[in-house]
Symmetry: C2
Subunit: 579 residues, 2 copies
């Protein structure tokens, strides 16, 4: 019982040993993550088309929920770039950005994602995330990065921008170029340059100046906060709002209200597909980050518990005014490197965000949106991995094709189509690969009990008895191929009286393959040929014995191929030479 | 060149050897199949909601097209029950049954199915039919049989009936029960009883009376023609039309016009999903029938050529006033048993149908629809295979679940949803099965070079070096499971310094699995553990060598597990005993 409770509430396993020095580590990490998270929360709300406070709300109670149920000590949960893009894409069809209906739909989306994740955790359906193959995820994230950067260019230029795919974005930017705001452009480009230089050179400069590497790294990560402070101060001092610079504007001070999201079944049904995709992508990314960090300390991540924890975090976000959340990569790395020891760091981060929300909102009103856009662009630039296309194509054309589809479709059509087609392609190409398994007619290596491919080795064969080895489990995708292969053999070997299937590589025979074997058995019988099996694996044999197939089989089931050869081969005289 | 032409036009390979006695055999078979096909063509047109002549038109030119391009000598093509049900379901959403728009949409559906099949043949996409696993096909055909029988009850009772699923059908029948026509009921039940008795007892009775078995069988198959002739005569003599019996009515005499179908892109787009499903189901059934019959004479069926032949047959149907066609099971068996030797039998059958259309349409006007309904019900009763559910569930729960879904969904919801969900379930359950491959920590059997599962054998292990064997190809569905498994091992073996993956059962490593191996390698490195591979198969090794993985690998690649053991195991002292 206690064990099951700990499994469900991992917090119980570490809270009893919690000590003062651990608290100090956690608190320090929390301060640094809070500094990093405030501008990110505002930026990703902007990206999702939501008011800035939604980003802050999504960085409070969800963090507490994850801390209680998650198995990673260092995963930092909150709004992330890709989920924000997917949120904007999903909500775009429902209401105009920024309206109360739009915000209400974001709450529904968060709750729904939470329910999907939670249900997957309870039902142990985490394997569904496997449908997202690495090339598909990687391609999708590259495409998202490009789309996100494109969507922020309008803010940098001080024009409206918009559009659901890259072509639309470019088209609108081009049309509106005449309306660009020079002051906004200066701030945007200035922030971009500053952040770029910090990322490229600051760390090395600080190390050269004598700072320890970890401190230099963390200072570099604080660059966005500096940009926010400086541009906010400029906007306030020079009253840039009056000069046409878009500012974040008034952010309501205070903590979020707790309330149930809309229960309109139409909205729920409309958002369900997007919620499933956001959940799966978020889960895959979170577990990957969590496992990478856990490995460094030989800690363990339980994917099923992660589903439950991320599910509860999203539900918490949905009832406390937030948007979908998941584990953020750079944020978690900072949390880890700043020394977070336990999920208490996450709870303290939530407290930090709450304090910021209560005290800083007056100042944030002067924050230029161009600054947030610059932080987003710099952050997502690391997501874009175009060389991966070449690498993947070189390794496997099928995987490369799936990746290309998942990159190109979102750019020209939209986010959800891309990932759906990518998943379908991955699965289809996998089934294709296994649908034509390697098979070989084998013969006996003279004087031995070994049987090898007649095309590659000098072996004895027998015109009465043909032995075929199939190098794959037999299941629906290759069952009919087996029928085709065997029936082609029959017409190619007019003197054949016995066909032996050597099954040493067959780990499974599903119901489709069983029916194919039954059909093959009947058809061979009609053609005057007996069907035999050899080297059937134990578990496969156990299942076959429960069916009438073993009785219907016209031939025998031999333990080894050699047994079959001894019993069946009448004139093993032919000696094949490989071509 | 000649070979390629024969491959595309199989008729060239046998026409040059065609002799007079073969023609006599083919002509005899054609007469018998024509007798069987006339009532079937009318009945399946009724089932599809189309005028009777559409069924006749679908049994002329398409047969000629198949005869020229098909590889089966005996497959009898034409309208079939399941495709007619799917046609009715697809067209129901477009126009009212029997209207010119409805007939026009049927032409589009046939053309579109033909294009789908033809394209699949050209692109060698026949493997797509593998997505329809045996349990799904079998379940779908059982559900179709039930739906078809249900849809014909109204004709037997002389009421309107209708409905898209079993619940609707029962509901409507119940409400309209008061309007039933007693004369129609007498004809319908009479025909049903006659056909049932013929099927059950006639063959045996004829054999007992001294007829040869084959002749008895063929006479039994002629029962529907007898029912048609007798009830038509009754309806004409007693003027049953005036008594409220629904008759087939005037059938236009003459051959079909050749004309292109509607090119309205909306209709094409709406019908595309149904066309794909009809094509796939028709193809799977046709090839299965063709292979069963071909095996009896050791002939060969080329699935890709069948796609092209069936595609051209359907396109021919679409431009000559017909509906979707495929190979019919009972009709092909009759063709085979009546002695058809070459596809000329099919061409002669088409001539027979043309003659019937030119001469018999005046008489067919008096044919009661109840008779056709009775022939349909008796014909589809053989499609319904409920015991298969139990058999499949007993063999494999996953396959059984997919089958149940494919049976229940069409009954309560509609035809297309059922097959789509069935396919998704088959694929999902297959990926689930392979997503958690069997893996084992292995140790050395003392004094040998053999390594076996530590849980099953007394073996030597080493606390520094853990050897894991994975019994499956590594691909996206199990890549993350591998990560989970390895990282769990790391936290369970605090003293581990080397991890060896023994890959003798790994036939493939796709791009996802490669990235997982790279991640595992990095994470183990972070944890101070070196990753080694052993027994990597040749083709897998060839691909790995083209990637940076081999250089990044912290450990070595050993030829055999024993090589790894010799190099790495420092204190192989522990002797495990199985639990």
């Amino acid at each position: 019982m206690a064990n099951r409770l700990i499994r469900f509430l991992p917090i119980l396993s570490w809270l009893k040993d919690y000590r003062g020095d651990t608290f100090v580590s956690d608190a320090l990490a929390a301060v640094i993550v809070t500094l990093m998270l405030v501008p990110q929360a505002l930026a990703y709300a902007l990206l999702a088309g939501l008011p800035p406070e939604v980003g802050l709300y999504a960085s409070m109670i969800p963090l507490v929920a994850y801390a209680m149920f998650g198995t990673s000590a260092t995963l930092a949960v909150g709004p992330v770039a890709v989920a924000s893009l997917m949120t904007a894409s999903a909500l775009g069809g429902i209401a105009d950005s920024g309206t109360p209906e739009y915000v209400g739909a974001a709450l529904v989306l968060a709750t729904l994602s939470g329910l999907v994740l939670f249900a997957m955790g309870l039902l142990r359906l985490g394997f569904l995330a496997n449908f997202l193959s690495h090339p598909v995820i990687s391609g999708f994230i590259t495409a998202s990065g490009i789309l996100i950067a494109g969507s922020q260019l309008g803010h940098i230029l001080g024009i409206q921008g918009g559009g659901h795919n890259l072509l639309e974005m470019i088209h609108r930017l081009w049309n509106q170029l005449g309306e660009l705001n020079p002051v906004t452009l200066q701030i945007g480009v200035g922030a971009l340059l500053f952040l770029y230089i910090c990322r490229k050179f600051l760390k090395r400069a600080l190390i050269a100046a004598g700072l320890p590497e970890r401190l230099a790294d963390l200072s570099t990560k604080a660059a966005p906060v500096t940009a926010v402070i400086v541009t906010t101060a400029l906007a306030w001092y020079f009253n840039l709002g009056a000069a046409g610079v878009n500012l974040v504007g008034e952010v309501p001070s205070g903590l979020p209200d707790i309330s149930l999201p809309s229960m309109d079944p139409d909205i729920w049904a409309t958002l369900a597909p997007a919620a499933i995709l956001i959940s799966l992508v978020g889960f895959v990314e979170s577990v990957s980050v969590a496992q990478t960090l856990a490995a460094k300390r030989r800690q363990r991540i339980e994917p099923d518990s992660e589903l439950i924890a991320l599910g509860l975090a999203n539900m918490a976000s949905g009832v406390s005014g937030g948007s979908p959340v998941s584990g953020g990569f750079s944020r978690s790395v900072v949390n880890f490197e700043a020394g977070a020891q336990t999920p208490i760091a996450g709870i303290l981060t939530a407290v930090g965000i709450a304090v910021a929300t209560l005290t800083l909102t007056g100042l944030l009103a002067f924050l230029p949106k161009a600054t947030l856009a610059a932080t987003i662009i710099i952050a997502v630039s690391t997501l874009i991995d175009l060389p991966a296309i070449g690498r993947t194509l070189a390794y496997s054309k099928a995987d490369g094709a799936a990746m290309l589809a998942t990159i190109i479709l979102p750019l020209v059509h939209g986010v959800e189509a891309g990932i759906t087609v990518g998943v379908a392609l991955s699965i289809g190409l996998h089934l294709y690969r296994t649908s034509r398994p390697h098979s070989a007619i084998v013969g006996r290596i003279p004087g031995t009990e070994h049987f090898r491919n007649v095309l590659r080795h000098k072996v004895e064969t027998d015109e009465n008895t043909v032995i075929v080895r199939v190098d794959e489990s037999l299941y629906f995708a290759n069952a009919r191929y087996l029928e085709d292969t065997v029936m082609a053999l029959v017409s190619d070997h007019p003197k054949m009286k016995n066909l032996v299937l050597a099954c040493q590589a067959t780990n499974d025979i599903d119901a489709s393959a069983l029916e194919s074997l039954e059909a093959i058995n009947r058809r061979l019988d009609d053609a005057g040929i007996r069907l035999h099996l050899a080297e059937v694996k134990g578990p496969v044999m156990d299942r076959l014995r429960r069916t009438p197939f073993c009785e219907e089989l016209t031939g025998q089931i031999f333990l080894s191929t050699y047994d079959a050869w001894k019993a069946l081969a009448k004139k093993p005289t032919t000696l094949c030479t490989p071509d």
